[in-house]
Amino acid sequence: MSPMIRNPLLFAVMAAMLAAVGFGQSWQVALTILNLCLISAVMALGLNMQWGYAGLFNVGVMGFAAVGGLATVLVTKAPVVDAWAAGGWRLGISFVLLLATAAVVVVVRRWLGPGPIRSLVTAALVIAGYFLIRVFFDPATEAIEAVNSAKTGYLGGLGLPVLLSWIVGGVLAAGVAWFIGKVALGLRSDYFAIATLGISEIVIAILKNEDWLARGVKNVTGLKRPVPYEINLQADAWFADFAAWFGASVIEASSIFVKLCYAALFLAVLLIVVALSERALKSPWGRMMRAIRDNEDAAEAMGKDVKRRHLQIFIIGSAVIGIAGAMLVTLDGQFTPGTYQPLRFTFLIWIMVIIGGSGNNWGSVLGGFLVWFVWIEAEPAGLWLMDVITSGFDDASPLRAHLLNAAPHMRLVIMGVILLLVMRFSPRGLIPEVMRR
């Protein structure tokens, strides 16, 4: 089958599967899955740029998604004036000191030649700067966290519209990526993988423990929404008519309407990202990226600045992941650092890209949809399977209870097996990269 027929067919099958959930389970469930599919697809596109175009083994997707999520808090929440008054200036001083320390280290390192003395002086300066910063930083955070700690206890945000936070999420993630890329991009691919995995864990640790920033594990709830609230819709007369026209109850219709609004927003972002990446991939820039990926030395010999290009694509891909992270937090309406787990936020995205077909944007979109769909639907399917398997057992049997209880964990096994099968029998994925000459 030619790709011209095959690829739309794959998407049609995907749509049919979502529709089947709509008819079989409920449209609420189908739309919930669809929304997360859209977000996953954006995230997978971001990773695909890094891995598929440029061959960067980024295992820190979770960190960038979380940084994007943080942006939603920092942009939309109202500023906590008391907290700023209590600790703002000290925090400002510690921030200035941080920059000063960095500057001093850079200058001194330029001044001293390479050698053990330089390393020792650098270490001494970093430690001294660290303690100096803590003199201001510790009382500042303590004061901020003491301000109405049950409700706020953090600096709050800027009180701006939530859609802006998607852009800011991308920018923040790009900033973090610049820093990480500067440090880690020179490493060999497997070291780079381990380093990014570790840095993403550090990002999550910071978000969990720096309560002054976004309340840590106490979570920030009640974030602004870019779409109407169900309650307001239900009160509107025109909406009641609208629901009646569909023959649905007002409550159900309002919930579906809200989900559709989200879906429209996410779809818009997805289409923009796909359109831009398709253009980029077809351009001379995309050709250069693939050339670098396929043979770094040859590309370098042709005068391409490999390091610079790697940093560039790493930043762009991370920005896209950050946007997706902000979208996810917007959809949830809350920022919960405790829920970021590498299996779900890093490795699952990897599976999406590999199964979809690394290097192909449409493949990543399909992978995002398909993998998220399976990830969610594996749970009821596993439960149903266990129910069938254990139907001969006594109802009180502890084994039956355990199996039913543990069935959701089967989805990890299913994902792993799918990944291994695809890698073995169809290593280029469902929609393989188009070989352009």
């Binding site: 381990i194 570790g198 864990e201 989805r411």
Partner: protein, 336 residues
């Protein structure tokens, strides 16, 4: 003088003893990672879950022993169950090698492909462990709790600070010592061990000299799986067993292997202790320690803690990144 002794005992109790135990556990884990890296040439992301799998089998057998009233008090009965856990882990790792990795080995795939497949294996093993034993915390140690109790130590020495050594810590150190000595003897004295080191140093030359690659790989998996099961069980006895924690242990284990020089067994052991002691010394609050040593007027008010314990994982990674940037081959000149 007693102040000084108290300070030493305090540090021993909270940093040295737990550090030695944790370092031993990391060293065993890092040995497995470094061995697979040396022979199969990839960073095995599934190693943490292999540890969890072996430990899970040990726990299930332990529970069965406990239910039939079998015990070897004062030692934990898990030690008797350990060989079965090791056997299960070996079967598992040889099975994955046969089903997954062998295919790529024959095609001589690049190492990123191996890493990606090991992520797939990680998912499968993680799922199996959670499916069988669940995602929750499990405790399975029995027998005596302490070798030295803090109160008895205080009475015996008359110091203010107590020193407690848990039995699990003693067992950890003893078992690690035995395993490491046996492993190094094997690698340096036996024919197979020498073949493995030759294969790790220069694959083509080893093949020319008649080393059988399949056999070397087979032995590497057997040893790595056994080390994983032992490390996991010791960690579980010392702290507790939770699948997610074991997955997270992957980070300090990788750090240990790389800091020591990946592919180098001695480096893995040293790296394990470096990482463990860095974590311990940087997250320890020195307030009380300094109170004993300094005159009263100098005594600090703050906790004198470099970083809170929440950033434990961050420390191993900062060390890792610094080592990668400053000396990418690690302390003991591993592979680059």
């Amino acid at each position: 003088m007693t102040d000084f002794l108290d300070a030493i005992v305090l540090l021993t109790n909270y940093v040295l003893v737990p550090g030695v135990a944790y370092g031993s556990q990391l060293a065993l884990g890092a040995l497995g990672v470094t061995l697979i890296y040396g022979i199969l040439r990839f960073a095995n992301f599934a190693h943490g879950d292999m540890m969890a799998f072996g430990t899970m089998v040990v726990i299930l057998i332990t529970w069965w022993f406990q239910s039939i009233g079998f015990s070897i008090a004062p030692l934990p009965v898990a030690l008797v169950a350990l060989p079965i856990g090791i056997a299960a882990a070996i079967v598992m790792s040889l099975g994955t090698d046969r089903l997954v990795y062998r295919f790529y080995r024959r095609r001589r795939s690049p190492s990123v492909i191996y890493i990606l497949t090991s992520i797939g294996v990680m998912f499968v093993m993680n799922g199996i462990v959670r499916f069988i034993i669940g995602p929750d915390d499990q405790r399975f140690s029995d027998g005596a709790r302490f070798i030295i109790k803090a109160r008895e130590f205080k009475q015996a020495t008359g110091l203010h600070e107590g020193l407690a050594i848990k039995l699990s810590q003693g067992i950890t150190v003893l078992v690690t010592l035995i395993v490491v000595v046996a492993l190094f003897r094997f690698l340096h004295k036996s024919r197979t061990g020498k073949a493995m080191r030759a294969y790790s140093d220069n694959e083509d030359l080893a093949l020319l000299s008649g080393v059988s690659p399949e056999r070397v790989v087979f032995v590497a998996w057997v040893i790595a799986a056994a080390l994983a099961a032992i490390a996991g069980t010791l960690y579980g006895l010392d702290k507790s067993f939770k699948p997610f924690t074991y997955f997270q242990l992957l980070l300090p284990i990788f750090a240990s292997a790389i800091v020591g020089g990946i592919g180098n067994p001695l480096g893995a052991v040293v790296g394990g202790f470096i990482i463990a002691f860095s974590e311990m010394t940087i997250t320890y609050a020195y307030k009380k320690f300094l109170r004993y040593l300094l005159p009263d007027s100098w005594a600090p008010d703050s906790l004198v803690q470099f970083l809170t314990t929440d950033y434990k994982f961050a420390i191993s990674f900062i060390i890792l990144v610094v080592v990668l940037l400053v000396r990418p081959t690690g302390i003991f000149r591993g592979r680059t």
